[in-house]
């Protein structure tokens, strides 16, 4: 027996996964425009952020409506709760992409550190890939993939620490690099935050599958 609820849930599900894809692309684009010093691209990201926010609001509204109308329990309830929690996380990821874009526009330094910019580019690739992966784990209801995400996030933290060391050292040696390097620190922080958000979604996927609330990243609370 196919319930009307199942159809509406499938709709909700696909608009959530779509939002995940949009967010992953936005993050990647934001990091790319920073590395390429592409202010126009950055403006586009800032101007499009409302689309992610609107989608979040629409998904939330639909979830509240479904809870009120169908009073779901057990697996149905867990699926809606997972979407409701994870959709806010996606929206916050979008905000971080917008922050990266704002930094790109604001950037004042004329002298850059190529090595660090490459590292940031790699971090951006990695985190965008993590977002796509966590969304595909969601689609496949694959809770064990959450551990892979946590391991990647650990790698991302190490990269962020490396960016910090390199930037600080460069600033000590050459005062002209301070403007750019200060931005590198902030961008590394934004990317690291997106990584943490990815594990938050992974935790909700585990909840959806098992009903257990777990913590994948105990204790990594530094900005970078």
């Amino acid at each position: 027996m196919r319930r009307l609820f199942d159809e509406e849930l499938a709709d909700l599900d696909s608009s959530f996964t779509e939002m995940g894809e949009i967010t992953a692309k936005t993050i990647q684009a934001a990091v790319q425009s920073f590395i390429n010093h592409d202010r126009e691209g950055a403006h586009k990201i800032i101007n499009n952020d409302f689309k992610i926010n609107e989608r979040e609001a629409a998904i939330e509204k639909k979830s509240f409506e479904m809870i009120a109308l169908y009073q779901p329990v057990t697996t149905d309830l867990r699926e809606i709760v997972t979407i409701l929690k994870a959709v806010s996380v996606l929206e916050r990821m979008g905000d971080q992409a917008r922050n990266i874009a704002t930094s790109t526009i604001r950037v004042k330094g004329t002298k850059h550190i190529k090595k660090v910019e490459e590292q940031l580019g790699e971090m951006g690739e990695l985190v965008a890939q993590m977002v796509s992966e966590v969304m595909s784990y969601y689609v496949q209801n694959e809770a064990l993939g959450a551990e892979t995400i946590a391991a990647k996030n650990h790698e991302l933290s190490n990269n962020a620490a490396q960016v910090r060391t390199d930037s600080v050292n460069a600033m000590k040696e050459d005062a002209q690099l301070v403007d750019s390097a200060a931005d590198y620190l902030v961008i590394a922080g934004y990317i690291k935050r997106i990584g943490d958000y990815t594990t938050d979604i992974a935790e909700w996927i585990v909840y959806k599958r098992t009903g257990k609330i777990i913590e994948l990243n105990p204790g990594y609370n530094y900005f970078i």
Partner: protein, 280 residues
């Protein structure tokens, strides 16, 4: 800071793909006072086995809901607990209450029913006054003074949350009461015998949501002094008021656990399907 309520075990430990076929909460594992328990209970209507393996224990001063589709055996189980099935079915197995097997032949069924009262789906007040409805069973079997009867009427109507509405018209016919009031009168009538356990067979299925909520409030109030076992088709009602829930399917108790577990993460797939309306 790590939240102590959050699990940090490896994920693989959480994921159990092979759901058990059956999960029965073990009442003996914790500090629970068992009010009534069944052992190897089987009910046959003629050749047809309506209930098998009904091994359940019920905790004292708690509300337990029995849920399941029509014909799943939940009402048969409930009715067996105070021997209502004696005339229509063959009931074998043990029903342990205060150290006695109340399913044995030498039990005085009428005396037993004073301890284990039953309220039915449709409110069935007698065609008598409100007052007489409550005192009828008492006066049939014992001698009471007018003062004693007055006191019992007042106490049981208060317990059933009906006193304030009817105290000035106790001589009015019970048939003039609304559905919700009539059902609470029937509950008061059962309480007048000072039972220990109250069995309710879909007590609010014939009532509107407001009367139904009044009956639910009454039951929540009553569990301070009574052990309550209720059959209900209303999932939300089971979720709202009961401490434990047992799910019946094709004559067996398939899953029995704390209500909050049944409604958030049941262990058996059939339970999940039934309570999320995903059957068939």
């Amino acid at each position: 800071m790590t939240n102590p309520n959050i699990d940090l075990k490896p994920l693989s430990e959480f994921i159990v793909d092979e759901a058990p076929e059956r999960y029965i909460y073990d009442m003996n594992s914790g500090k629970h006072e068992v009010a009534i328990a069944t052992k190897g209970l089987q009910v046959r209507y003629g050749d047809k086995l309506a209930l098998s393996e009904g091994d359940l224990s019920f905790e004292r001063y708690k509300i337990t809901s029995l849920i399941g589709a029509s014909g799943s055996g939940k009402s048969t189980f409930l009715r067996s607990l105070n021997r209502m099935n004696d005339d229509v079915a063959t009931v074998s197995g043990k029903i342990m209450y205060r150290g006695l097997d109340i399913n044995s032949a030498d039990i005085d069924v009428y005396e037993m029913r004073r301890h284990i009262g039953m309220v039915f789906q449709r409110p069935n007040p007698f065609a008598k006054s409100i007052y007489d409805n409550i005192t009828f069973a008492l006066t049939q079997r014992g001698r009471y003074t007018k003062e004693q009867l007055d006191e019992i009427v007042e106490t049981s109507l208060k317990q059933a949350a009906l006193w304030d509405q009817v105290k000035d018209e106790l001589n009015k016919s019970a048939l003039a009461l609304s559905g919700g009031q009539a059902q609470r009168l029937v509950i008061a009538r059962a309480l007048a015998l000072k039972p220990d356990i109250l069995l309710l067979d879909e007590p609010s299925s014939a009532l509107d949501p407001i009367s139904s909520a009044q009956v639910e409030d009454t039951l929540l109030e009553l569990k301070k002094d009574y052990t309550i076992i209720i059959v209900t088709h209303n999932m939300q009602q089971a979720a709202r008021i009961s401490d434990y829930t047992a799910f019946f399917h094709m004559g067996r108790a398939i899953e029995y656990d704390l209500t909050r577990k049944i409604f958030t993460r049941p262990k058996v797939a059939l339970t999940n399907d039934y309570i999320s309306g995903n059957f068939g």
